[in-house]
């Protein structure tokens, strides 16, 4: 009781509340974790799609997952060298 009393008035969390809060955070972060193979194949796919429309510098592009408290964002950063002007749509579609 004394412990509880002290906690109540010192504003400290009880160990079980700390445990619960840490767990909830850990589980959220665990679920956001993406393994390297997924990330690199995603990067390849994105490069492939963008390359159809733009000339990009494949060397200096970056793909990362930015995490915030309650949401995460996929950030793809690449310099565009130039826009591909004469895209041949018929060739593109027949390639598939």
């Amino acid at each position: 009781m004394l412990q509880g009393f002290m906690r109540k008035f010192s504003g400290k969390q009880s160990p079980k509340d700390t445990a619960k809060r840490r767990l909830q955070f850990a589980l959220v972060y665990d679920k956001l974790e993406i393994n390297d193979t997924t990330l690199s194949s995603l990067q390849n796919d994105i490069v492939e799609v963008i390359s159809k429309y733009f000339e990009i510098d494949t060397e200096s592009l970056q793909l990362e997952v930015q995490r915030d408290n309650d949401l995460s964002a996929l950030v793809f950063n690449t310099p565009i060298l130039c826009v591909k002007k004469n895209r041949d749509f018929s060739r593109e579609s027949s390639k598939k």
């Binding site: 009781m1 412990q3 509880g4 009393f5 906690r7 109540k8 009880s14 160990p15 079980k16 509340d17 445990a19 619960k20 840490r22 767990l23 909830q24 850990a26 589980l27 665990d30």
Partner: protein, 266 residues
Amino acid sequence: MEGKIIVVTSGKGGVGKTTATASLGAALALEGNRVAVIDMDIGLRNLDVVLGLENRIVFNIVDVVNKRCNLNQAIIRDRRIENLFLVPASQSDNKDVLTAIGVQRVAKMLKSEFDYILMDSPAGIERGFENSVVAADEAIVICTPDVSSVRDADRVIGLLYSRSITPKLIVNRIVPDMVAKGNMLSHEDVMDVLSIDLLGLVPMDDQVVISTNTGMPLVMHNQSPAGQAFRRIARRINGEVDLPIQVPSARVGMWNKISQKLGLNR
């Protein structure tokens, strides 16, 4: 009628999978079912010693799956509890000797002979876990009220969901005094974090160690709080779904009661 295969798993090691499998198997047999408990922890067998059947092993589950013997040759009958049977693991092989197809073939044979087949899964989420889960109809996840165990349980629950199995949870080793003082996660906290159905709550109990030491099934002790908790869980598995879940309670002193009322333990 075909039997039901239930896998007992946890992710983390040392939370009480083997004790739970042995206890639930024994309790289900005491309820009048034909029960087989299967040790899937290949290379690190222990279900045999927990049940006190270690000196009667001739063949094991690896022999059965790899067709070196018949299923019936590997099954050990418990002499104290009628209708309780054990298929031990091999101690010399590693977990890769079993194949999913082989396990499924044996599982089919077991289902035709028993009402309940409990698979004691190894710790971890690798091959051994996969083999234990491959033929399962239902799953029980065991966790203790601590951060690492709950986190691992969450991972395993996710893996079970991805196999279209909806697991149920047993929270093991609850210390009511610590929960009452706010020093240990309560089962409500664990449920909040994991969002999964609860199957039962098992208190910390010295008798578990004593029973393991003597090889006497825990559920045969009428004085053991953990043993009694497992018996109630077995009844719930066996169809008494409405049997209320007892929350392990501390011997609450006057001061603790007052402080609970005042919300000082929160």
